[in-house]
């Protein structure tokens, strides 16, 4: 439970970013999650990403459902409006918020229970609609707040802390996101900040439905031998296909790379994604290939990570609806109300 306010003091030498904010300006309340929780690392990565992007904190809205992961928006970006909504329903609330004001950046934070079980429908439909958002699932394969039940992303054969073996098939949210038309799909690991921070930056800069599945071990209930979501297991089986180095538009490409080693992807907002290839044959702009690679790695018992797919020219829900550029929540009476004269005409048509 968050009731501990952080002291406002900070080190005088903390470096400001391009907006003059320090990293502290992107922090939130003190986390009340368990010591060592992977989710806190993700919060730290979000803070770092927003700071690095020179993002005005109030221009971002953070939304979540219910669960350990959904508590975390209180622990980062304290100067942003936040909404801890109801279980499994963050995607619809975020969709509505986005419809109301297309000018803000929307960050949805959810968990594997919140998105792969109760909220699987909303996860799927928000992605297939192309809601312009960054959707992060903090995936630990277990229900933490209710103390250790399997979630729908638990792999078959994995063991609970009490020794029970899961026989159900797992829901792979990355595979679903690819099939449902997400225009940015990544997987990462809470223990790999160097990989995660640029992915979050790229997702926040992406126009369209950006999804990041972050394996985030639960130190309390799912970090034991026999779990496929433990720190040790994920480290051993992590197969990164690429490294995202730089994403800012203003940076010039100065380093020399051997041909085929780097892939440059220019996004809609002008940001440039520079991908250092780790798997030589991986093409992150090919959705079909991404799905194949996902299956191949899974068959080998590996956890594929990195930027798995990106469509830099994706359309979003507002494009599809043809909504006006001015945010709907800022339209004035005269733009909304047709007036008495128009009504007189309507009355005539009903006689």
């Amino acid at each position: 439970m968050t009731y501990i306010a952080k002291p406002r003091l900070h080190h005088p030498l903390l470096a400001p970013n391009g907006l003059g904010f320090t990293r502290r300006d992107y922090e939130g309340k003190v986390s009340t999650l368990c010591a060592g929780c992977g989710h806190d690392s993700i919060s730290a990565a979000i803070i770092q990403a927003a700071y690095d992007l020179d993002l005005p904190p109030h221009r971002l809205a953070k939304l979540s459902g219910i669960g350990c992961s959904s508590k975390t928006p209180d622990y980062f970006l304290g100067a942003s409006h936040g909404f801890n909504s109801v279980h499994g329903r963050m995607p619809s609330v975020l969709t509505g918020a986005n419809l109301a004001n297309r000018d803000l950046i929307y960050l949805g934070v959810s968990g594997d229970g919140d998105s792969a079980s109760i909220g699987l429908g909303q996860f799927a439909h928000s992605i297939r609609r192309g809601v312009n958002m960054t959707y992060i699932v903090e995936n630990n394969g277990v229900y933490g707040l209710t103390k250790g039940q399997f979630s729908a992303t638990s792999d078959p054969g994995s063991k609970s802390k009490r020794g029970v073996v899961n026989h159900d098939q797992s829901v792979d949210l990355v595979g679903l996101a690819l099939q449902l038309g997400a225009s940015f799909v990544a997987r990462s690991f809470s223990g790999d900040k160097a990989q995660l921070v640029p992915l979050i930056q790229a997702a926040l800069s992406h126009k369209g439905a950006a999804f990041i599945d972050v394996i985030s071990p639960c130190v309390q209930f799912n970090n034991h031998l026999g779990s496929t979501k433990s720190f040790d297991y994920v480290r051993e089986h992590n197969a990164a296909v690429n490294r995202l180095d730089i994403i800012e538009a203003r940076d010039e490409i100065t380093a020399d790379y051997a041909p085929g080693e780097i892939e440059i992807v220019a996004q809609h907002d002008g940001s440039v994604l520079r991908l250092r290839k780790l798997a030589a044959d991986y093409d992150p702009t090919d959705r079909v290939a991404a799905l194949t690679q996902l299956q191949l790695h899974q068959a080998r018992g590996e956890i594929i990570t990195g930027l798995l797919f990106v469509d830099p020219d994706a359309r979003d829900l507002h494009d599809n609806l043809g909504t006006v550029q001015k945010p709907l929540n800022q339209l004035e009476d005269r733009e909304l109300i047709p007036g008495a004269a128009a009504l007189a005409g309507i009355n005539d048509s009903l006689r």
Binding site: A79, G82, N84, V86, R89, G96, T323, L350
Partner: protein, 615 residues
């Protein structure tokens, strides 16, 4: 041709019912018949009674013609147009003694299929169609137009009235104009050559005035446009679907930028009702006026979000077009059976303002008002329509709008106010009305941000699970509900001509039948003061009305006397004082039923509610 000893005779005052098979194209022909009566200056009410089906099941269309403007269901049928062999027996049985039965006499029927106390009027419709048309579908469709032509002659609707309607309807398709005119003429000639006009007559009048003829879903959708709604999220469900479709049509006409073609609205068909209300709550949180429209089953699914809207104090508007439920629960039949479901929706201690429009004119007004109330009270407002209001066209006063009216956005703290250092506590009751200021995301770089949760927070939106903090917040929410009493539409009282110990409370689509019942009761020397409830929470006027009478009849279209329960619980009223009068068989309540029930209770002192018997 049977001719009974007494025939019903009336001018501009009778009930015609069409019994058809759905999917046969009868709806547009029957609609033309009703509209022709309107064009003669005579008020009309038409009600569609239809199955949850696309083709093949029975459907009825009941037309009340009333020069005096009595537009509720009267009860009984004076002229039955029996076009459906499946329902022949019950249709014939429904005709008033001395009434008329119009049928297709191509194939002879045994005498036992008829009644001797009603007049039978046979026109060989199938034979005429088979002679005039070769295609099966044409024979089917034009049969409807032919019977309208015949009926028009029988009751005295001039041919030119129908012909003008044909020109309006098919203006863009000249080929269809002539075909329909020919079909009308076939019917007219068939009737004129073999029949005589019947005792039910139409005569041109001037009683329609400037009134409009429109369905409540369409009116509510237009009200949402005028109320500034920009986000609509919905999931198809009868009988509310046409509200979202009408909103779409209105927005495409009224809210598309002429230069850029851009839409000043966003409409999303959700994957279910939960997502729909979730989108509404998200949009409301972010300052857009948003609504969903649904029916009882949808309200059930939305419960959790309605509670979140209550506790997190987020504006939302829900149009509930009521029907029976669940599953295949009389989905196309009308009821007022979601009153308690909506009033106390969700878990925890919750209650929500409800608006009860009486007709499409109020659907328009209350729809627009609902968005102001939602912003003013920062909570969910339910607009309680039903299938009868929502899906039937009603004759009502024209829509009106005052161009000086401004949208009331409620208490939203602005950038300038935050910049000036005004204190912001998201749940701080600064004005004593229980309503706190909110801020919208993105308003200010350094001030006004807060974290939205359910109940576990203090007046400054800081996390708290402290008992006293919770209780203080719940008390403030009660204060806010008290504030709502003065904001929802006040009741309308219709006093009796004489002082009386009897009162009656009614609401929504019951209104026209209730008014007719009150007139009928007065005619029998029974005087009843009547109060039409238009909003919940109930204001003091409602309670004063109850206190001023010995017995108060509460007329509702549900089994459990739900409004009565709400009055009892919220007003602390003695149950013995409130007599339920309940018609809930799925067809709109009739004036005769209300009259008979109230008479029986007053004269017979009966205490047991007797349900309206299905027709």
């Amino acid at each position: 041709m049977n001719r009974p000893t007494t025939r019903l005779a009336a001018v501009n005052d009778f009930v015609v019912k069409f019994a058809n098979v759905n999917g046969s194209g009868s709806a547009s022909a029957n609609g033309m018949f009703a509209k022709a009566i309107l064009r003669m200056g005579v008020p009309v009410a038409a009600r569609n009674i239809f199955p949850s089906n696309i083709q093949g099941l029975p459907t009825w269309y009941e037309v009340r013609v009333s020069e005096a403007g009595r537009l509720g269901r009267r009860g009984g049928v004076d002229l039955m147009v029996a076009m459906n062999p499946q329902t022949w027996d019950r249709d014939v049985a429904e005709v008033e003694p001395g009434g008329y039965l119009f049928y297709d006499c191509t194939k002879p029927l045994p005498a036992a299929k008829f009644r001797t106390d009603i007049e039978t009027i046979g026109v060989p419709l199938t034979q005429i169609c088979n002679g005039a048309y070769t295609e099966a579908r044409q024979r089917q469709l034009f049969k409807n137009i032919i019977y309208v032509g015949a009926l028009a002659w029988l009751i005295g609707i001039p041919p030119e009235v129908l012909e003008a309607l044909v020109h309006e309807e098919f203006g863009a398709k000249p080929k269809l104009i002539q075909a329909n005119l020919d079909a009308l003429a076939l019917g007219r000639e068939a009737a004129a050559s073999t029949l005589e006009p019947i005792g039910l007559r139409m005569r041109a009048s001037d009683q329609v005035g400037d009134r409009i003829y429109v369905d409540g879903n369409n009116a509510a959708a237009l009200g949402a446009v005028y109320g500034g709604a920009t986000v609509c999220a919905w999931y198809p469900i009868t009988p509310s679907t046409s509200l979202a479709e009408a909103f779409t049509a209105h927005c495409q006409k009224l809210r598309v930028d002429e230069e850029t073609g851009e839409a000043r609205f966003a409409i999303v068909q959700g994957e279910d009702e939960i997502a729909s209300i979730g989108i509404v709550v998200g949009a409301g949180w972010n300052g857009a006026r948003a609504f969903t429209c649904t029916s009882g089953p949808g309200i059930s699914l939305m419960q959790e979000f309605v509670g979140l809207s209550y506790f997190a104090e987020i504006p939302a508007v829900i149009f509930d077009v009521q029907r029976g439920g669940p599953s295949t629960g009389m989905p196309t039949r009308t009821q007022q059976s979601d009153i308690l479901l909506a009033a106390y929706a969700s878990h925890g201690d919750t209650k929500h303002p409800l608006l009860f429009p009486e007709d499409p004119a109020e659907c328009f007004e209350f729809a627009a008002l609902a968005f102001d109330l939602a912003d003013r009270l920062q909570t969910t407002i339910f607009v309680m329509l039903d299938l009868d209001i929502g899906m039937n066209e009603w004759l009502c006063r024209p829509f009106a709008w005052d161009d000086a009216r401004r949208l009331d956005r409620g208490k939203v703290m602005t950038h300038a106010e935050l910049e000036a250092g005004r204190e912001f506590g998201r749940y701080l009751d600064v004005d004593g009305d229980g309503v706190a200021y909110r801020t919208l995301p993105g308003v200010h770089p350094g001030r006004g941000a807060y974290f939205t949760r359910g109940t576990s927070r203090d007046p400054y939106a800081r996390y708290s699970e402290e008992g006293p903090v919770y209780v203080a917040n719940m008390q403030r929410l009660l204060r806010k509900f008290e504030t709502a009493k003065s904001l929802v539409p006040a009741p309308v009282i219709r006093p009796a001509k004489r002082r009386t110990p009897h009162g009656a409370i009614y609401f929504g689509s019951t209104t026209p039948a209730m008014h007719e019942a009150l007139e009928a009761l007065e005619g029998q020397g029974v005087h009843v003061d009547a109060l039409r409830v238009r909003g919940f929470p109930f204001c003091g006027e409602v309670m004063a009305f109850i206190a001023a009478h010995e017995t108060v009849f509460v007329i509702e279209q549900n089994r459990d006397a739900q409004l009565r329960t709400l009055v009892m619980v919220e007003g602390g009223v003695d149950p013995a004082k409130l007599e339920p009068v309940l018609g809930y068989d799925g067809s709109p309540i009739t004036a005769r039923f209300i009259t008979d029930e109230i008479l029986r209770r007053i004269r017979g002192h009966a205490r047991t509610p007797v349900p309206q018997v299905a027709e």
